[in-house]
Amino acid sequence: MSELISEIVKKRFGDAVLETHQQHADDTIVVKREALLDVLRFLRDELDFKMPLDCTCVDRLGLGEKPQCVEEAMNPLLTTPESRPTLGAGLKPRFEVVYHLRSLSRRMFVRVKVRVDEEDPVVPSATSLFKGFTWFEREVYDMFGIRFAGHKDLRRILLYPEFKGHPLRKDYPRRGYQPRIPMPNLKGDPVDTAED
């Protein structure tokens, strides 16, 4: 490969690319949220990254802190609520949504990342470009509470609709308990979301 994909994207998009790195030979591009769809479209149409591999998220709440601090904050058995350390120093913005795309002709993959803050966890949905991200984005919404603007069917996927919170966030306790769900009213109208 003559030129790195991240270099090509950087040349084309300039300031919209926040940083790039090639750690362990994985080509990584961190882009601004506004430019995400343009970068993905450019990768798909002009650089032949047509296959959506994976979409996930990393909660960076504890990444900048000492590991023990995160451990104590997460585990209710170690500390009482008063002595529990508060997290939040971490890296900002808090969430990092990670996309992996693969090119069949180039025989390589590229990683695109976009960072969003806790107060405004909204990312433009890539499902209009890659329909294969439909369930992956639903899973990120389910596990991290990131909302994907423009996603047609943003529901929980692995957990049930009444679930409180988003379990893969670092501040969700490992032994978290959920409230009981009241019995559904079976006498009422049948639950039906489809239009007739």
Partner: protein, 401 residues
């Protein structure tokens, strides 16, 4: 079929859609999944696939222990071919550590991966026949699979929950008589394959139920993120072992079978041929495998041998540090993909420099494929769901994690 229903709508008869729950615990659904169907007569107008019934929180659990403690959890992802998951996860951590494993270990990992692939495909083919009520090939496949389970048991000590691969190597070397054991299993496999092919490949009922059903063409399959036999059945020669060779797959000769139509029947044929290619790889492995250690010698990563632990202070310290604090993986992130039974199994791991994984994400291949099931069965009959669903070979443990 569509013409009939259109005629019915125009007529005077009152008709309405029938809403039907298929699953989550249905005798024909292998794996706990629910398909919410909207039916017009027997034709599927719309459907919604609901997964998550086997969700165990793999990714959350992985964050709680050391890097080594994740390995047993990976067995439970794709429980039909757990060894490939072991290889994938350990490969991802090794990529993050920046280490290279020994030559013999690479061949051992290739060997166990290919055995697991054979087991996975045998299960898929057997179940594929079972879905169209051919019970005999299913039992034959299970018999052949059992021979391979004996072999896996001899290698790892367990049939399904193997936990054989370690970061930096494998648990122990292959047993002395592994070649004979393998050849016994291979003999049984070929006897069985001959019979299964004779019963299924030109079987009128099997072809009628599978050919032209569950079609996914190449362009759509790529857009949905298909990998593995389902993508190759559509005619795309994408295989991680060829596209991004790992563990020295580029030194081994094998072909990537592709289909043309992308239907259930092609998926069956692709799986059948891949079994033969796996056997071809294993024969090369038996010829080429070198002698030597199976683990790297860095005691910060692999556990020291027990003689050293009990007799030297360095060994004791290394063992203690490794078990209590875990392997110290440097900060960073890595994505490592292997070709699993169903397609690309990818592990995205993030480390914060402590002895614990900061984030472990697995890309289950059938997750991407299952989201297209609604498209694949739309406009077809209810009876077509079963063979289509099975040719995807959804594994509940993998898709729900």
């Amino acid at each position: 079929m569509t013409k009939d229903t259109e005629a019915l709508k125009e007529g005077d008869l009152y008709t309405t859609y029938l809403h039907l729950n298929m699953g989550p615990s249905h005798p024909a659904m292998h794996g706990t999944v629910r398909i919410y169907l909207k039916l017009d007569g027997e034709t599927i107008v719309d459907s919604d696939v609901d997964i998550g019934y086997l969700h165990r929180g793999f990714e959350k659990m992985a964050e709680s222990g050391t890097w080594t403690k994740v390995i047993p959890y990976t067995d439970r992802l794709n429980y039909v071919s757990p060894l490939i998951n072991n290889v994938g996860y350990c490969g991802a951590v090794e990529k993050l550590l920046g280490i290279d494993i020994t030559e013999r270990c690479k061949f051992i990992r290739v060997f166990v991966s290919e055995i697991s692939r054979i087991v996975d495909h045998l299960t898929a083919i057997g179940a594929c026949a079972l879905e169209v009520a051919a019970y005999t090939p299913f039992l034959w496949c299970m018999q052949a699979r059992e021979e391979f389970y004996f072999l896996i048991e001899a290698i790892t000590g367990a049939r399904v929950t193997t936990s054989y691969v370690r970061i930096g190597g494998v648990r122990w070397d292959l047993p002395e008589d592994w070649v004979e054991r393998y050849e016994r299993a291979e003999k049984k496999l070929f006897e069985m394959l001959k019979d299964v092919e004779a019963l299924l490949t030109r079987n009128r009922i099997f072809i009628d139920r599978n050919a032209g059903v569950g079609v996914m063409k190449a362009e759509d399959a790529i857009a949905w993120g298909f990998t593995g036999p389902c993508l190759r059945a559509a005619g795309v020669d994408y295989d991680v072992r060829k596209a991004q060779p790992y563990l020295g797959y580029d030194r081994l000769e094998f072909d990537v079978p592709v289909g043309t139509e992308g239907d259930n029947y092609d998926r069956y044929l692709v799986r059948l041929e891949e079994i033969r290619q796996s056997v071809r790889i294993i024969r090369q492995v038996i010829k080429q495998i070198p002698e030597g250690p199976v683990n790297i010698s860095d005691w910060r990563i692999v556990l020291p041998p027990k003689e050293a632990v009990y007799n030297t202070i360095e060994g004791t310290i290394a063992n203690f540090e490794n078990v209590m604090k875990g392997i110290q993986v440097p900060k960073g992130e890595a994505y490592y993909a292997v070709e699993g039974g169903n397609g690309e199994v990818g592990f995205y791991v993030v480390s914060d420099g402590s002895g614990k994984p900061y984030r472990v994400h697995v890309r289950p291949p059938c997750f991407a494929i299952m989201q297209a099931l609604s498209d694949m069965i739309k406009g077809r009959l209810v009876a077509d769901i079963i063979p289509t669903f099975d040719s995807i070979n959804m594994i509940g443990g993998e898709i729900d994690r």
